[in-house]
């Protein structure tokens, strides 16, 4: 395309843009208020910031900028140091360590946890886009690791797109050999994104011994009592910590882009605080697991539903004895009416039976009939089997099916969910078969 035609086309588009902007401004003025979502978002940023103006949506100055100048501005804004390397500038910000003792031996006793000697590195990134596509870059990397009883915190920040090599070098240098990486959803987001960035810069990503993604663990252990599994939900419900007004994650990319175009650094400070809190939360989750669920007396105070899930994790690792001990702990006090206790009793009885401990399984099943909910039916069904096949007492087996049905009807009457589809039909079938056998036996 010749230059004049191209220029003319672009000028046309520019005119269209001016007209569209004007029309949009007029519309906004007419309607008098912005979209409620946007207003909420703006309100939350304003609330979060102590000293900054909201970012302008578009900055139209495009002249080339000096990376060193940006690095110094970013360092000043974040209260960190601008560091120059042969591959460019990055900003390094050390935060005050957090006192957070963790007994690594006890932590290692939990399924899937790192051995006591492995160095841990907690990591969380803030990125320039929400998806993890080829052009999305991590502009802020939060790191945390233990030094004795303290959690050390370090943030690495990117002053400009051109300086990514320096940032990645710094990250590689901070990653110890044989490290266990600790992240939240890092298996599918943060780490693959960083690996891509290393490759795009013709570097090799640092080697890791293992990657512990706490999202997977939190889902398995705690999802049953959380409204969702987002990190901040975990923080509030599990760790019982309340964050100061925070920035919505979806706002973060725009804040960084605005900074690159000469926007204020105040909002980035809020992003950095958000990132630091996220990284510390990773450490706190590990501490919470160790204190509440590690081997020993403390487990007794853990919620019974959690213990049932913990037992499942042990079972997946083939650690049957530990699974049994978790379940036995959770199965105490069945009369209390806690549905998690009943669930633990069922799983305990099943596990015992699978490992050939029939007598103990029988005792456990018989304890279940005292449970108040629909799970009592399962106890009665097992008793019916026991009486029919082992004791060969058809009449009392039939009576047990009766009790089982009764438990189901009762719990349904109270609006409780039925355990599984078809259970009632199966039970009715068993009862009818017993009745026929009884009739034959008495005839």
């Amino acid at each position: 395309m010749d230059g004049t035609r191209l220029q003319r086309g672009l000028d046309n588009l520019r005119r269209g843009r001016v007209a569209a902007d004007r029309a949009a401004a007029a519309r906004a003025e007419r309607s008098g208020e912005a979209d409620p979502d946007i207003r909420r978002a703006i309100a939350s940023i304003v609330a979060a910031a102590d000293s900054f103006r909201a970012p302008q949506p578009v900055w139209r100055d495009v002249g080339p900028v000096d990376a060193a100048a940006l690095a110094h501005r970013l360092a000043a804004g974040l209260d960190g140091d601008a560091i120059q390397t042969p591959r460019g500038w990055y900003v390094r910000r050390e935060l005050r360590p957090v006192y957070l003792p963790v007994d690594r031996e006890r932590l290692a006793s939990l399924p899937g946890m790192p051995p006591p000697s492995a160095p841990l590195l907690c990591l969380d990134t803030e990125t320039t886009g929400l998806g993890s596509a080829a052009g999305t870059v991590a502009f802020l990397i939060g790191l945390a690791w233990w030094e004795g009883e303290r959690l050390r915190l370090l943030q690495l920040a990117l002053p400009d797109h051109s300086e990514e090599g320096a940032l990645l070098d710094a990250l590689a240098a901070e990653t110890p050999r044989n490290a266990w990486l600790v992240t939240y959803n890092g298996r599918s987001f943060d780490w693959p994104l960083l690996e891509t960035r290393f490759r795009m810069n013709r570097d090799r990503p640092p080697g890791l011994d293992a990657h512990l993604d706490l999202l997977l663990l939190v889902r398995r252990l705690f999802r049953h009592r959380l409204p969702d599994a987002r990190l901040q939900t975990v923080e509030r419900h599990l760790l019982r910590r309340h964050r100061a007004p925070d920035i919505p994650a979806s706002e973060i990319p725009a804040i960084y882009h605005s900074f690159l175009r000469g926007g204020p650094t105040g909002p980035l400070r809020v992003v950095a605080r958000h990132n630091a809190e996220d990284v510390v939360t990773l450490g706190r989750i590990l501490a919470h697991l160790e204190r509440g669920y590690g081997i020993g007396e403390v487990r007794r105070w853990a919620p019974k539903g959690d213990l049932v899930r913990l037992a499942r994790l042990f079972r997946h690792e083939g650690r049957t004895d530990e699974a049994l001990s978790c379940l036995a702990e959770a199965a105490t006090g069945i009369e209390g009416g806690d549905p998690d206790t009943a669930l633990a009793t069922v799983e305990l009885a099943r596990l015992l039976r699978r490992h050939g401990r029939i007598a103990e399984a029988g005792v456990t099943w018989s304890r279940l009939v005292a449970a108040p909910g629909p799970l009592a039916a399962l106890g009665w069904i097992e008793l019916a089997k026991e009486r029919e096949h082992r004791e060969r007492n058809l009449a009392s087996a039939w009576a047990a099916t009766d009790e089982a049905l009764l438990a189901l009807y009762r719990s349904r009457g109270q609006g409780q969910a039925i355990l599984r589809r078809g259970l009632e039909a199966d039970l009715a079938g068993r009862r009818a078969r017993l009745a026929r056998r009884l009739a034959r036996a008495t005839a």
Partner: protein, 548 residues
Amino acid sequence: MIVCCSATIGNPAELAAALTGRQPRLVDRNGAPSGERHVLMIQPPLLDPATGARGSAQTLATRWALPFLRAGRQTLVFGRSRVGVELMLSTLREALRLGDGPRSRVRGYRGGYLPTERRAVERGLRDGELLGVVTTNALELGVDVGQLDVAILAGYPGSIAATWQQMGRAGRRQSTSVAVLIAGGGPVDRYVVEHPEFLLASTPEEARLDPDNLHVLLAHLKAACFELPFEPGEHFGPSEAEPLLAFLGEEGLVRRAGDDRWYWSNENFPASSVSLRAAAEENVVIIDTTPDRPRVIGEIDIFAAQTLVHEDAIYIHESTQYHVDKLDWDERKAYVRRVDIDHYTYADRAVTLKPLETFATAAVTGGSRAHGEVMVSSLVSMFKKLKFGTDENLGWGPVHLPEIELQTTSYWLMAGGAAHGWRRADLDVALIGVGRAMQAVAAVMLMVDPRDLGLVSQVRSPHNQEPTVYLYECVPGGVGLSERLFERHAELVAGAAELIAACDCASGCPACTGPRLEPDVDAKALALRLLSALVSGPASIAAAPNAA
């Protein structure tokens, strides 16, 4: 190495070169075995010379399909519109039900069906489970359904390439196959069927690619820059990337960093706003609220949504009728409910056009010609209720939807000299007739789908104070058609005159000057009178290169 494949275009090497920017090597010998194939071209009979009413292509198509279906031959019926497809499907199913035919083995297929439904139909055709499918051109490109026995085209698909694509669906390696093309009501259809050599002898259309289209260029550039930064002085497409990047920089999408490279600097993912299939960026989801748990039955692009799922429309899906209870435009959701009634709806689009900039202008016999950039706004404001079978008008209703805008390029003809001394009402009819004929001739001349060119006529244009006919391109930004029309203006008006004069109707019909608006107006004579003042020399459409 890049391998490009094409079955039906006239200039594969040129297209590959334009697409890849490299010099390709052409391999064009077809060594595939093929059986005997019969091609039938049918002109529906003229029922009423006064109005120019002809037998309907859709009715004829279903009549042709039935014997093949009853004989167990796999048959595809191609319709030109989504509504047409549903109407033909209903007719076929009904006929097969009455005659105890393989009713359940006939299905519909078109845009707007869910992917799973579509995959099931494709699979059914491949393994012979399905006997007949009524479809739009959705089944034309890149969908593997194997080779079938019969293809019936209800209406000329708009281009030679598309016609061969659709006809090519029938064609076994060993046995005989049949392809039937039935002319629709439009002038282009009539022309093609009356001149079979146009289809059989001429080479297929040349695929055109305008690497200079700014909209396309900028969209590509955004996606490219997102993935890797641009070096200073780097080229993109036909020119240097620098001015384009600077433009995107003003938009806040890219930014030049300290190393002088251009980086993507926006939180959005640019490729997500580009659609490969539809012109519009967003879709409207259609939700059936009849069952207890509402379910999504399909989605359509926002242009089609304005005419198909406006409130109180009857939307037809798999030959089931749905009434649109509510169209939530902002949320892009249409809520429909199953109904069984005797009519369907047809919504009309009102189009207004405003020139933004004239690229070139020149005097011609009876007036002047021009091409340039225009803004086209289309507004759907009302719909008609039409009775099944007879298409009788049962009433109308309003549609309240926002206007959709399209910035594109256009060719226009100002007939100030030729129309001197005309009565306003006559001129209105004549301009519409001339415009319709020019639109048809332009489509044949440039070998494009007639739907790629839009028509607007103004008795007294507010911009140049003259009677004006605009032919605008329906693709945002245009692909260079209007410039070509500007250059071939003389052939265009001469061809239009010839098309109207040669038509066997009495006083204008859909096959020359367009549907008649008032019964006692002779649109044919008026259009010819205006054209006689516009035609300069002895040029004719037959002389146009490639056309015949």
